[in-house]
């Protein structure tokens, strides 16, 4: 009996051994295959892991690694936007696994600030960088004296319009939203199949930035437990009613922005214009064939004649995580990456096309005189650069992933004509106040 059992146990051990061998073999083959993305590094350098998703960053990272003997940056693309944040949130929650440096869009920065997941860069002497940065962007990354990230690109919004369509229907380029509505009606009358614009209210960043242009302050948070949420103010409702009229009359379409559907409408001449951030034309350029060269950029219409307010849409900052064991080196890299001319030469060009926060680059001839086939010979960067001087960014609440989901869900009803813009804002107000209260904030409305 005992002998049999021993033999039996040996059989199982044999199976386990085979399994371990197979696994071990795989493990070592996994190591043998490890990548050489950091081949530009000097030996003995401090290793930094850097998460970002913008194409072309590897070139800048390589340049940094070559010129910095003591630091070796390993760029990892773990996904764009929300995909990366999902991983960041997981790593922060687990207490390990976060990179040293991460790309975080401005609107999501405070969400990581409130959980104490980001390092304060003023401890690393970043305060003196204020002067090289656009002031509006600086406000996006700071809380009092604390600096939670350094700004790279920005997204001043202008009006991208199809010049051929405007000429064909003899439409003037509107300078106020009132004029814009008139032009919309005029176009709708001439050809009901063509919409003046695509307006997708489900995009929280776009929605609140456009509301901010009308003087609304949807959120105000100063880093503590107090927060104000106000989506139902008079200017908020004016904004809501304005766009609701255009949606109800079918004069604007409401498909997801910067995506295949919208590109299809724009490129087939069914939508004549879109409010678009500085990075927008390059995105559309990847999908346009019929309308290449037909597009022009003009200043975004204003709520009152003579006003000069530019909403900001998109853009990313670069933050050092609290988990990083090398905050000093990480801060050195981020500083080089976001402010050095060596870096800007790379990231402001193809394929990264970062619209500069750095004022030197922003005002350089090389940058301002660029043109892309989509917009013909127009030097569009000049328009965006002048818009960048009147940026009015939003003060984002520290729970934007929740807000973004809530906006998606609530404004889907607007897109489906089940609810008006005004009703959606009111419902959203209620939802966010109850969420913020449950999360322990003292909410002012």
């Amino acid at each position: 009996m005992s002998r049999r059992r021993r033999r039996h146990a040996r059989a199982l051990l044999a199976v386990l051994a085979v399994l371990t061998l197979v696994l071990g073999g795989c493990g070592s083959s996994g190591k043998a295959l490890s990548s050489d993305t950091t081949s530009t590094c000097h030996s003995g350098a401090t290793k930094l892991v850097f998460w970002a998703w913008v194409p072309g960053f590897q070139n800048a990272v390589d340049a940094f690694n070559r010129s910095h003997k003591n630091i070796c940056v390993d760029l990892q693309n773990v996904g764009a936007g929300t995909t990366e944040y999902t991983k960041l949130v997981t790593a922060f929650h687990a207490g390990s696994g976060a990179p040293d440096v991460a790309e975080v869009e401005y609107l999501n920065l405070s969400g990581f600030e409130v959980t104490h997941s980001l390092a304060n860069l003023s401890d690393q002497g970043a305060s003196n960088l204020q002067q090289v940065n656009t002031p509006a962007l600086w406000r996006q990354v700071t809380q009092g004296k604390a600096i939670y990230g350094l700004p790279l690109d920005s997204g001043p919004v202008s009006l991208l319009y199809n010049q051929k369509l405007f000429a064909k229907y003899k439409l003037p380029v509107p300078t106020t939203w009132a004029q814009f509505a008139t032009v919309a009606a005029q176009l709708h009358k001439a050809n009901p199949k063509i919409a003046i614009a695509n307006f997708w209210p489900e995009d929280a960043n776009f929605l609140f930035s456009m509301m901010g242009q009308n003087g609304s302050v949807p959120f105000n948070w100063g880093g503590g437990k107090d927060i104000s949420i106000n989506l139902t103010c008079a200017s908020c409702m004016q904004f809501a009613d304005y766009w609701q009229k255009l949606i109800s009359s079918g004069e604007v379409t409401t498909v997801p922005d910067n995506a295949a559907q919208e590109f299809g409408l724009l490129d087939s001449g069914l939508v004549a214009s879109v409010p678009r951030a500085a990075w927008g034309p390059k995105y559309l350029a990847t999908a346009a064939t019929n309308t290449l060269g037909d597009w022009r950029v003009a200043k975004l219409p204003q709520w009152s004649a003579g006003a000069n307010v530019t909403p900001m849409w998109g853009g990313s900052s670069y933050a050092v995580t609290q988990q990083s064991a090398h905050k000093k080196e990480a801060a050195e890299f981020v500083q080089w990456f976001t402010t050095s001319q060596e870096s800007w030469k790379i990231v402001s060009g193809a394929p990264s096309f970062e619209f500069p926060s750095d004022t030197t680059t922003l005002h350089s001839k090389r940058f301002l005189n660029q043109s892309i086939p989509l917009t013909g010979k127009q030097k569009v960067e000049q328009n965006f650069a002048s818009a960048a001087t009147t940026l009015k960014p939003i003060n984002w609440p520290p729970f934007m992933t929740y807000v973004s989901n809530a906006v998606l869900d609530e404004f889907a009803k607007v897109v489906q004509h089940d609810e008006t813009m005004g009703q959606a804002l009111q419902a959203l107000q209620k939802n966010l106040v109850s969420y913020a209260t449950r999360e322990g904030f003292t909410v002012r409305q």
């Binding site: 049999r4 059992r5 033999r7 039996h8 040996r10 059989a11 199982l12 399994l19 197979v22 696994l23 795989c26 493990g27 083959s29 996994g30 295959l33 490890s34 990548s35 993305t37 892991v49 998460w51 998703w53 913008v54 194409p55 990892q76 693309n77 773990v78 996904g79 764009a80 936007g81 929300t82 995909t83 991983k87 997981t90 790593a91 929650h93 687990a94 207490g95 390990s96 696994g97 990179p99 910067n258 995506a259 295949a260 590109f263 299809g264 490129d267 087939s268 990075w279 390059k282 995105y283 350029a285 990847t286 999908a287 346009a288 064939t289 019929n290 998109g314 193809a350 394929p351 096309f353």
Partner: protein, 292 residues
């Protein structure tokens, strides 16, 4: 085989047969439609993907260019993802099958204390959605160094509760208890019984479980997405959806759609070849036990 002959000799009336074959054809068209779409789409450039009729070709013929781009974009990373996926699936699926054979055999052919409770625990894990387990899994893994480690991917892939279940049912039906008992009476050791008597009879079921576990690992997305942040460890599902999010939402002024579409074909092709190879084993039966 003989049952097939009986049927064909029985015959069905011609009109009925025609209708039934027509039904099979309609279902076939539906099944193959997206596969046809992806093949057509892989020949297009980005603009034609948006701007042309999805079910027909549209010049310029871009397939070779797309394949070239796919395997050279971001320093040839795509080939690496395919290789990773193959390694994870073969080791994970193969190991899971071995474990399911051992475990299923124990559940099916032995009586022991706690058997009911253990089996219930194994099956019950199918009932709780894995979404919520990601964070605990991640936390646990980060404590024992399995984050960004191939074993973090392999260990969960080795555990297949449904494989245990299928093997138990299969062994119930196709490995007679009398045979095991007789072997024991003849004085054969447990190892001999398992390897010489039971294992050969388990083979057809094991092949099917192997197929399921390989597919499950091949198509696994959420686990590798959470535990890997090094691109050189990604399987193809995570890598492709990385490019897809970049092509769709907020990522890029690059033309990534053709890469995602062409990559989709390469992500699916190896499994289809595996199906063709393993096809003949299905006939031998998965759920013999179920019909007892």
């Amino acid at each position: 085989m003989s049952s097939q002959n009986i049927h064909t000799t029985l015959g069905i009336r011609r009109p009925t047969r025609f209708v039934l074959i027509a039904a099979m054809m309609v279902f076939l068209v539906i099944i193959l439609l997206p596969l046809y779409w992806i093949i057509v789409s892989a020949t297009k450039n980005q603009a034609a993907l948006y701007g042309s009729f999805g079910f027909w070709f549209h010049g310029p013929f871009n397939l070779w260019q797309n394949i070239h781009d796919l395997f050279t974009y971001r320093s040839d990373i795509f080939g690496r993802w395919l290789l990773n996926t193959a390694i994870y699936s073969l080791v994970g699926g193969g190991g899971a099958t071995i474990l399911a054979c051992l475990g299923g055999y124990a559940f099916s052919r032995f009586e022991f204390r706690g058997k009911g409770a253990l089996f219930a625990t194994v099956i019950a894990s199918l009932l709780v959605p894995t979404t919520a387990l990601t964070i605990p899994t991640y936390i646990l893994y980060s404590k024992i160094g399995l984050v960004n480690n191939v074993f973090g991917m392999l260990i969960p892939s080795l555990v297949s509760p449904i494989g245990i279940y299928l093997m138990r049912v299969y062994i119930d039906g196709s490995v007679p208890a009398e045979l095991i008992d007789a072997s024991r009476i003849d004085g054969a050791g447990e190892r001999t019984i398992f390897l010489r008597v039971a294992a050969p009879l388990m083979m057809p079921g094991a092949v099917t479980v192997l197929l399921f576990t390989v597919v499950a690992t091949w198509n696994n997305y959420f686990l590798p997405f959470i535990i890997f942040s090094r691109q050189d460890l990604y399987p193809v599902t995570v890598g492709l959806s990385l490019w897809a999010t970049q092509a769709v939402a907020g990522g890029s002024a690059e033309q990534l759609y053709p890469l995602v579409v062409t990559g989709g074909i390469f992500a699916v092709l190896p499994l289809m070849i595996l199906f063709v190879v393993l096809q003949r084993y299905w006939r031998a039966g998965l759920l013999t036990g179920a019909v007892k």
